[in-house]
Each structure stands twice: as structure tokens, then as C-alpha cells.
């Protein structure tokens, strides 16, 4: 009896916490007409617990609108995801001829449920950034049977290519390669690198590590002073670099697999009065092009920042337009263009355009 009561209370508390979260966001929204749908408005939608988000925009002229169901990961996950989500919301508006519904989850099964709901609702396109690569075959077959076209973005899945129209992804290996090529282009006599990795096994970590490892193996003057994972964590990165400094080893490059970790590393350098950036003793490299990181580049404190492009919406738009006009998609896997920024050439416009 007591146990039951306790479990009821726990449930109640959790619901309360969830509601509190939703309530406040909902409060921010304005009853703006659908045409002027702001991102905030959309933010309210995302919080509807119902993953399948029935809330489609008030479709006054729904006849000509293309119905899309978008399944994404939780925008809280990272700055990348937040930018990605904002980009989607900016693109799939009524002004651009879309009627969009959103569903968010970091869990595969919830995403699948949401996908089934979208298919039942009869969306024309299902846009999917899957939490997990496996388990999508059945639901995609259902989609095909119902005439719903599927477009993958950001993440690929283990399913037959015939089940989707296109897959728009980042090439992490290329990101790493671009960065390493840039580093090689600096023409140092010797590369003594502190390599700070992301969470081991993640696609970003593997791609960004792979290129560097290959280069270090192939060249005698490329050495890894240390190669450690800081799990995307600025503070761990700081400790790792601090430890190298304390032990007095020489290094002239810090290759951090995201901006946060590069920031942590720089904090350790500042503490030890080691100069870094343009004209400094240590080259600082980061990834993800956060706005603040690009500003560090502009200020000359860092040297390089690699992009992981979160802006897939325009690519998706193009794919949909092609299909709607009767064209065919020739290459199913579309790899997005991704840049690397050099502190010496970056401009304020780049920051405004590419910063996330």
C-alpha cells in the first residue's frame, strides 16, 4: 500500500516537473497568425508531450501546402541541434509552401511511434533524423505503402536505400580530413599535438580522429604528445592540457574535437602563460563553428575551426522541389558542403553566416 502511494507520488512529481517545463514555454508563445509563425511559436509545439504533435499550423489554405512531418532529436541536446532545429523551423513555414509538424525525441521507439502517427495523418514527406540506426525498416515500408516519401537528414539509418528518397548528411571523415590538411598546410617543422577527443565511438569523434591518426602514422615529424577523450567536456580538456603542461612536455598544436574542449584547453594555456593563436606558440583547432568560437578566431586567439553543418533545410527543400516538379534524385546520399575557417581569413560576415 505504502509502496503504491510512493510510486504514485513519484509519478506525480515527475509529471509536475514536466508540466512546469512546458507551461512556461507555452506562456512565451503569442497567438500569432500562422503566417507569422516565429521560432518561439514552434518552440511551444515542440514541448507538446504528444510526440506526434498533432498541432499543425492553422492551415487556412491547406490545399496547396505540402504536408511534412519532421522527426528530430531533442534540440536541448547540443548547440548543433538547436541550430539545426531553428533552421528547419525557418524553412518549413507556410510562406514557403509547407505545413509542418514536429516531433522530438532522443529515443528510437518514441521516434518510430511519432513516424507512424505522421504516416497515418497522411503527410506527404517524412523528414527524419533518427536517434538510432536500427529498427526503421517496418515503419519505412509502411510509409512507402501509404505513399509518404521519406528524407533522412543529419543521420543515416540501416535500411535499404529504396526506402527513402534522399539522405542529407555530414561527412565526419571529410571534416577531419579538411582540418588535418589545413594543419599540414601550416608547414611546421615538427607537429607535437595534444589531441582531445569527443565521446569515444560517436560518429564525430571517429571521423575527426581518423584523419589525424592516419597523418600521424604516415609522418615522422607528426607526434601525439597525448591523445585523450575529454567527452566533449571543457573542464576535462582543461585538466588534460594542464597535466601535459605540468609534466613539462613540449607541444605546439592542440587539436580539440569540439569548441568547448578547445576553450578548456586554452584556459589551461592562459594559466601557464603559453601564447596561442595567430603568431602564438600553440595552434588551436576546434570544431562546430559556434559563434563565440568564430569570434575567438577573428580575435586571433584560435587558428582553425571546422564546420559541422547543421543547415540541412535548404538541401531538403531542394530535394522536395525536385520531386514535386517530377524530377528524380540521382544521388541518394547528399553530402553537405562543410568549411574550415582560418583565423587569418575569417571575416565578420562568416561569423554571422556560419556561426551557430
Amino acid at each position: 500500500m505504502k509502496k503504491k502511494l510512493v510510486s504514485v507520488l513519484v509519478c506525480a512529481a515527475m509529471t509536475a516537473a514536466v508540466l512546469a517545463g512546458c507551461g512556461n514555454k507555452a506562456a512565451e508563445t503569442t497567438d500569432a497568425p500562422a503566417a507569422e509563425e516565429t521560432t518561439e511559436d514552434a518552440a511551444a509545439e515542440e514541448t507538446t508531450d504528444d510526440a506526434a504533435a498533432e498541432e499543425t499550423t492553422d492551415a487556412a489554405a491547406s490545399g496547396e501546402l505540402i504536408k511534412v512531418g519532421i522527426i528530430n532529436n531533442d534540440p536541448n541536446e547540443s548547440g548543433y541541434r538547436t541550430a539545426n532545429d531553428a533552421d528547419m523551423k525557418a524553412m518549413f513555414t507556410e510562406e514557403n509552401g509547407y505545413e509542418a509538424s514536429f516531433a522530438y525525441s532522443l529515443k528510437n521507439d518514441e521516434q518510430i511511434t511519432a513516424a507512424q502517427k505522421f504516416i497515418q495523418d497522411g503527410v506527404d514527406y517524412l523528414l527524419l533524423s533518427a536517434a538510432d540506426t536500427a529498427g526503421w525498416d517496418t515503419v519505412l515500408m509502411d510509409a512507402q505503402a501509404a505513399g509518404t516519401r521519406v528524407i533522412l537528414f543529419d543521420r543515416t539509418i540501416d535500411a535499404d536505400e529504396s526506402l527513402y528518397e534522399a539522405s542529407i548528411v555530414s561527412d565526419m571523415d571529410a571534416e577531419g580530413q579538411t582540418a588535418v590538411d589545413w594543419l599540414a598546410g601550416q608547414g611546421l617543422d615538427e607537429y607535437n599535438i595534444i589531441h582531445i577527443q569527443g565521446v569515444m565511438g560517436s560518429a564525430a569523434q571517429q571521423g575527426r580522429t581518423g584523419a589525424l591518426n592516419a597523418m600521424v602514422e604516415a609522418n615522422d615529424n607528426w607526434n601525439l604528445v597525448t591523445q585523450q577523450t575529454a567527452e566533449w567536456n571543457a573542464e576535462k580538456a582543461q585538466q588534460i592540457v594542464q597535466s601535459v603542461i605540468d609534466s613539462g612536455e613540449e607541444f605546439n598544436v592542440i587539436y580539440a574535437e569540439n569548441d568547448d574542449m578547445a576553450k578548456g584547453a586554452v584556459a589551461a594555456l592562459d594559466k601557464a602563460n603559453i601564447s596561442h593563436g595567430v603568431d602564438g606558440d600553440v595552434i588551436i583547432m576546434g570544431f562546430d563553428t559556434n559563434t563565440w568560437a568564430l569570434e575567438e578566431l577573428l580575435a586571433g586567439n584560435w587558428n582553425y575551426d571546422g564546420q559541422c553543418n547543421p543547415y540541412q533545410a535548404s538541401y531538403i527543400d531542394e530535394v522536395i522541389k525536385t520531386i514535386e516538379s517530377g524530377g528524380t534524385i540521382e544521388e541518394k546520399v547528399i553530402i553537405m558542403e562543410e568549411k574550415g575557417f582560418d583565423a587569418e581569413t575569417i571575416t565578420q560576415e562568416d561569423i554571422d553566416k556560419y556561426g551557430i
Binding site: 566533449w232 567536456n233 594542464q242 609534466s247 568547448d260
Partner: protein
């Protein structure tokens, strides 16, 4: 002959007393780590005075790094010890509530603009607001545990799960960056003082808790509630209040940690700030030889335990052990601790010692 014998007995009983002292457990571990470092590479103990990029004097070296980075854990160990003693359970939400405290702090500092040119409020005000919020969340945990009698680990699981999302929501999912230098004073150095500020903050916390334990009945009451709730009630204590109080004190510790963590990098990352720190804090309490089932506690031992963990971490970084293997080493420490403190092992050990004594006497 006679005097020799008594001397020997005296020495062994002194040694015995020392060994039985609770504080010896973490101290022994710390000595072991220091000894290892001394043998393998004495440069571990080197401390240098240098200058940072702003031209201020700073001390550097592995020992300083341990004192610096171990501060947060030491502060959390204070609160965690009290919670453990009073409730016989642990708070696993401290990492997530640290994210909340840090988020609140930045929210107040930055106002609605996530990249302010100047601070929107004095740091002290922001810190006090963060304290209040963190204490409220602590009280929330405390009420669940004390009033609704939910197991602490289950009760705090709620905030463990929801905390980081709440933290992200407080700042509308933005990542505020503070450019004002004064904030970094709390996480790095105050100009002119070569010792890292987090160490001072940790020492201040230790002094405060030391005074509180000395001049109030907090220790007695907490232990009484932890040992036997019913009998403490019969003796006129209010166990519900004491338990909630312990969680509120932990909340205060969390707010301090939030300040240090945010000040270190002048920004926040909701998903990774103070990640897994709850487990380290609990480990610190266990390393201090405190019973995780509540009751008597030794604050000094917990705090030393926290520095032992940081010393282990720093040592492993120094020897370039893969940092994702760190938890495995901590697990070994836990296993040794659990086995040593298990009643079965203790009984066997005592029996063995008694046998030896008999043999010696004979």
C-alpha cells in the same frame, strides 16, 4: 626486559589506535598515491611560480592542480556526508542541480541577452539567487525523502533525470557567454594571488562547516537521526526537519560548486557540466570510511577522500592513462573499500588478530 615489553605493547596499541581511526583510510590511500608518484616520477611534487597570460603570478604543478580541481568535489563531499549520515542514502542529483545553479547564475548575470557586454547584475546577487534556487531544489529532494519516505536514490533520480533539461530551459536553450573578467576570479585566480581561488572557496566552506559542527548540535542530531530515527524522535528531535536540512545544506554546496564551475569557463554546457560528479562525491564519502547506511560520520575523512579521488585522477592523467578508463580505476577503489568494510571480512580480520595476540602471549 619488562620495560621493553611494555614499550612494545604501547607502540603497537598506538599503531592499532591509529589504524582504527577513520581518518586513516583516506590518508593511507593518499599516502599510497604520493608514494607511487614519488617512486615513479618525483617531479610530481614540483611546484613552480610563474605568470599567467595576464601577467599575474600563479603557482603551477600537479599538487596545485589537485588542490584546484578537487575543490568542487571537496565542497560536495561536505553536503553529501551530511545527507548520507542523516538519511542513510545518497543524492544522485547533485550534477544536474549544479547545472541548474550554474544556469540560474548565468541567467541573472546576463539578463535576457546571452552575450552581454557588461554584467546585468552584481555577481554576489546572482550567486545568492543561485543559492536560493539550489536550496529549494535541495528542499524538494529533502521533502520527498523525509516526508514521503521515498528512498533517497529514487527521490533524487527525478532531478537527476530532469535537472539538465530544466537548466537548459532556464536559459531558453541558449549558451550565455560572460566576457566580464571578474567572474573568472572565482574559477581561476584573483590578480596578485598565486593560489587558485577555488581552493580558497573550498577552505572557506570547510571552515564554515567546521564551526557549525563545533558550535551547534548539527552533528549530534544528524547522527542520532541516522542511527535510529524513532529513538531520536522519542528524544524530542524532529527527524523530518533534520533530513530536509541536510539536503538544503547540500543544495548550498551545489550552488557554490555551480559558481566555481561556471567561473572556470565563463559559460556553461548543460549536458556535460559537473557530469558524473555525484558518483565521485559518494565515492569520497565512502573513501572517508563513512557508512553509506547512515549514522556516524567523519567530515574530515570525507574531504580528504575527495582530494584522494582528484589525486587519483590527476595521477592517471599524468601517466596518460586513457581518461575513459578512469571509472575502471575508481571501481577498483570501490571494490577494495566495500570488501574491507564488509562485516564478514572485518570479523575474519578481528579473529585473525586475536589469534595472533594469543600466539604472541604464549
Amino acid at each position: 626486559m619488562q620495560t621493553n615489553e611494555t614499550k612494545k605493547a604501547g607502540a603497537s596499541s598506538f599503531l592499532g589506535r591509529m589504524v582504527r581511526k577513520q581518518v586513516m583510510i583516506p590518508l593511507a590511500a593518499l599516502l599510497l598515491l604520493f608514494l607511487f608518484n614519488l617512486i615513479v616520477d618525483p617531479s610530481f611534487f614540483k611546484i613552480e611560480l610563474g605568470y599567467n597570460s595576464a601577467g599575474n603570478p600563479v603557482l603551477s604543478g600537479f599538487l596545485i592542480t589537485i588542490l584546484d580541481s578537487g575543490s568542487e568535489l571537496a565542497i560536495l563531499a561536505i553536503g553529501m556526508t551530511l545527507v548520507t549520515a542523516a538519511t542513510g542514502g545518497q543524492d544522485i542529483s547533485v550534477g544536474a542541480t549544479t547545472a541548474i545553479a550554474g544556469s540560474v547564475l548565468l541567467r541573472v548575470l546576463c539578463g535576457t541577452n546571452s552575450r552581454p557586454e557588461t554584467l546585468q547584475a552584481p555577481i554576489i546577487v546572482a550567486f545568492l539567487v543561485a543559492c536560493v534556487v539550489a536550496m529549494l531544489f535541495g528542499a524538494f529532494n529533502g521533502v520527498l525523502v523525509a516526508v514521503f519516505k521515498i528512498q533517497p536514490m529514487i527521490a533524487t533520480l527525478i532531478l537527476y533525470t530532469a535537472g539538465r533539461s530544466i537548466a537548459a530551459w532556464i536559459n531558453n536553450n541558449e549558451l550565455p557567454v560572460v566576457s566580464d573578467e571578474t567572474l573568472t576570479y572565482f574559477g581561476e585566480f584573483i590578480p596578485g594571488i598565486p593560489i587558485p581561488t577555488p581552493f580558497f572557496i573550498a577552505v572557506a566552506c570547510m571552515i564554515v562547516i567546521g564551526l557549525v559542527l563545533k558550535f551547534t548540535n548539527l552533528r549530534l542530531y544528524t547522527q542520532a537521526v541516522g542511527i535510529n530515527e524513532n529513538s531520536s524522535k522519542l528524544n524530542g528531535l524532529n527527524p523530518v526537519f533534520i533530513k530536509i536540512l541536510s539536503f538544503v545544506i547540500l543544495g548550498l554546496c551545489v550552488a557554490v560548486v555551480g559558481l566555481i564551475k561556471v567561473a572556470r569557463i565563463s559559460t556553461i554546457n548543460y549536458s556535460v557540466i559537473a557530469k558524473d560528479i555525484e558518483m565521485d562525491a559518494i565515492l569520497a564519502v565512502a573513501l572517508g570510511g563513512n557508512a553509506l547506511s547512515g549514522g556516524k560520520f567523519n567530515m574530515t575523512a570525507s574531504i580528504i577522500g575527495a582530494y584522494v579521488i582528484q589525486c587519483l585522477t590527476t595521477t592517471l592523467y599524468k601517466f596518460q592513462v586513457r581518461s575513459d578508463a578512469l571509472p575502471a580505476y575508481k571501481a577498483i577503489v570501490v571494490i577494495v573499500l566495500v570488501i574491507v568494510s564488509a562485516p564478514v571480512v572485518r570479523e575474519k580480520f578481528n579473529a585473525f588478530m586475536a589469534k595472533r595476540k594469543v600466539k604472541e602471549a604464549a
